[in-house]
Amino acid sequence: MARVLEFDFGTPDVAGEPVTLTIDGAAVTVPAGTSILRAAAIAGITIPKLCATDSLEAFGSCRLCLVEIEGRAGTPASCTTPVAAAMVVRTGSDQLERLRRNVVDLYLSDHAAHDDHGECELHDLAATLGVSESRFAGGTTHAGLPCDESNPYFTFDPAKCIVCSRCVRACDEVQGTLALTVQGRGFASKIAASQDELFLSSECVSCGACVQACPTEALVEKTVLEVGAPERSEVTTCGYCGVGCTFKAELKGDDLVRMVPWKDGKANHGHACVKGRFAWGYATHRERVLEPMIRASIEDPWQTVSWDEAIAHAASEFARIEARYGAHSIGGITSSRCTNEETYLVQKMIRARFGVNNVDTCARVCHSPTGYGLKTTLGTSAGTQDFDSVEHCDVMVVIGANPTDGHPVFASRMKRRLRAGAKLIVIDPRRIDLVRTPHIEAAHHLSLRPGTNVAVLVAMAHTIVTEGLVNEPFVRERCDWDEFQAWAEFVGRPEHSPERSEAMTGVPAADLRAAARLYATGGAAAFYYGLGVTEHSQGSTAVMAIANLAMATGNYGRPGVGVNPLRGQNNVQGACDMGSFPHELTGYRHISDAGVRESFEAVWGAPLDPEPGLRIPNMLDAAVAGRFKALYVQGEDILQSDPNTRHVAAGLAAMECVVIHDLFLNETAAYGHVFLPGSTFLEKDGTFTNAERRIQRVRKVISPRNGYEDWQVTQLLSNALGYPMAYAHPSQIMDEIADLTPTFAGVSYDLLEREGSVQWPCNAAAPVGTPVMHMGQFVRGLGRFVVTEYVPTDEKVGPRYPLLLTTGRTLSQYNVGAQTRRTANVIWHEEDVLEIHPHDAEERGVQHGDWVTLASRAGATALRACLTDRVAPGVVYTTFHHPTTQANVVTTDYSDWATNCPEYKVTAVQVSPSNGPSEWQSRYEAMADRRRRVATRGPVA
């Protein structure tokens, strides 16, 4: 489609009573508080401007948007002047024209000539006002100052900069990092990053908000300079985290020039992060595999074959294994990185073709406890609010999440609300950035010992119950009163007091009590949580404990409150919604429900097994035991992402046919027999569902370089397996999903085109979706309080393994890093490092940057040490983005009691000095290289 150009109203939208004024003779009615600049724009009248844009508060510095107002002296700036009833405004006159020409003339005098890529508003204004040459040319200018090329994605040329402050304000207001400033005074004033540093070495987080805000191309994407101005664009949804940012993909010909966050995106409102905006180069990375490959043994080199050969080979192998070992020896894994339609097809193929439910998804290892916990207490497996709800939040509790790294665009929304006065409670072993960041300081940071979430949450409940802070009217009206009483009796026991819990949790009782009081009495209070809650042996219990607290305090069913899981990957919510779990069909309906099963059998034309199938860890266990033989893995790298790498490897090695459907020869592919090239999010149609249940379109921006979209590949495989599928477009798959799923009944591509996006439930009762759930009553009827007894993990520290390892992610990288490691983002994270407290490091003779061995009962690896007091003594932390580190060699098989979600967040370890990578790492690298060999085309034995 043609390039989508968004209209800039000059200043932000405001809410207020209607006010009518006259602008250039036309009556205009706008909300009170609206600027004259915006009111004029709404009326279709363009007032020249440079420092104003509708994503930022008015600043009034450029003096171009001047107007004349009857009865008022002078020529006020329309961006900073609010409308008033009966006001009469004139936007054009000889005087105004002369003033504006003078201003533009001055700006041009110190604005270096440059190729215009269609982004220079100063050039546009000069043309509009007829200013072709500056009368002030020849004076001192900033020409010749060096460009800052340090950032891999954008450049800053001070000679083009007019110091309008849009970049500074974008960094402050939109991103909330406050990395930029105007340094100096008068002619010497200039834009500076941090303490006049290069962008790369400053506090800048490369979100790109400044680039987007710049009106003169002083800050511009390097791809725009290299490829040229975009000619067309397509609106689509980001393929990274669960925030689900909407972007305009802007292209020149078939070359993607840049990704620009879309103002109308309801999840991101025009903002983005360093991954979504910039880290898309993996789509054309040289390591991307574009042709199918097969091999008889994992020790053989891969052989490139045609799609027909690869599909036929996979189908014949699955058929052979089915005949020899039975259908229960076969399964599939869906991906939270793929679309709803693609995950739906994978689980459909496994269930309908093989008559088994051995299908699982990577949400198993992240948010499966959210599904169990929220369904048990509230009735459905989903976060309760939309992201916009945070604007109404008075108290945020961030537990086990690091939003500024994991969900940076939503973190910016949180920070904006916190700067406006909301209070913050952080419950995390690490001092995450939110604890103390410019203009924000947590009221309480409960730095608990890893593995004690439930004890802390129960102690908070104890405080609320025993101090009489329960919202009893809410509980009596909305919840099961008997269950509440049993829960209140449980949490009220003396042994659950903060004072008694302190020895276990490490959280000072007074801090915990104060935090609980703030949560219960501070106004609209919301929990935001991540994998630091779920990835524990008591992950599901902790989710239920959070749900209990929100019920006890009446924090459901209105904006600003609720329980909000921050989903890690782009489509975790969707993959779960689509029936990817082995015990559930779409919409979280249990496979044992005969009525539900029959509805699917009628549409799918195949009988379904009423028993739950194997989860991912169960599949691996069964493989090691010799009972599970074939696996179709779409878009996941379980060898790198799942715990206890050696066990995963043993399971994969025991299988006879592993079909890898991915962009790259990932780590799991070392154990693959068939490789089916995947397509990126830029190359397919479909939908993603973000953490706020928002279903959004993914649109094909470029043709799939591998030849097929992923849903087409699954369809080819299914057809070859003898279970026919004949979808012509993903919209038909969504129609089938809607037909079979009550919470999706109203969803269609037509609706998404009209509305932009919708949040499920979307059906006759909620035809355009449901931003806030549990209004009036909970999905299950009465909210259910569940007794959540703290059970310490079986993973214990001791003399051999005295430290606790917890793992996580960093801003620049995504999950196993398969995508982000193949972009310039590696400049910010070249390797995984081990964060260790200086005290623990000193005891071990470890200095910053030293190689150390990280050993647990499961295995050992080596990486460099980073000494920091972000972690408490006794706790160490690392990321899992790099296969050379393989952090999951160290993590164990312990998992959540209800869901088998691995306990990534608690591993007893020892750290000791090392000379470099371990022998295991060297062997692993050699093995991975050997198994990535690709032979020339030829027959497979």
Binding site: F490, P582, S592, L614, D621, R627, E789, V791, D893, W897
Partner: protein, 71 residues
């Protein structure tokens, strides 16, 4: 038969949760039915029939419930 250590540990974890719930062993048995693959249930049942060494009391009760409910 080989001792199914992992399944025993999983069953004991589930039992530990339902220890504090009103449903008790029935809740644990229901959890095993709703979330465990039949082959996993068969394996833990077989272990229980052989004595069930290592199973916590409530886990053993839950498996007994599965045995009683078997056709």
């Amino acid at each position: 038969m080989t001792r199914p250590d992992r399944l025993i540990a999983m069953a004991n974890q589930i039992a530990r949760f339902f220890d504090s719930q009103r449903e008790g062993a029935a809740g644990a048995a229901n959890h095993l039915t709703r979330y465990w693959d039949p082959a996993m249930r068969a394996e833990i049942i077989a272990w229980r029939r052989g004595g069930g060494d290592g199973l916590a009391p409530l886990a053993a009760q839950a498996v007994d419930t599965l045995i009683d409910a078997a056709p």
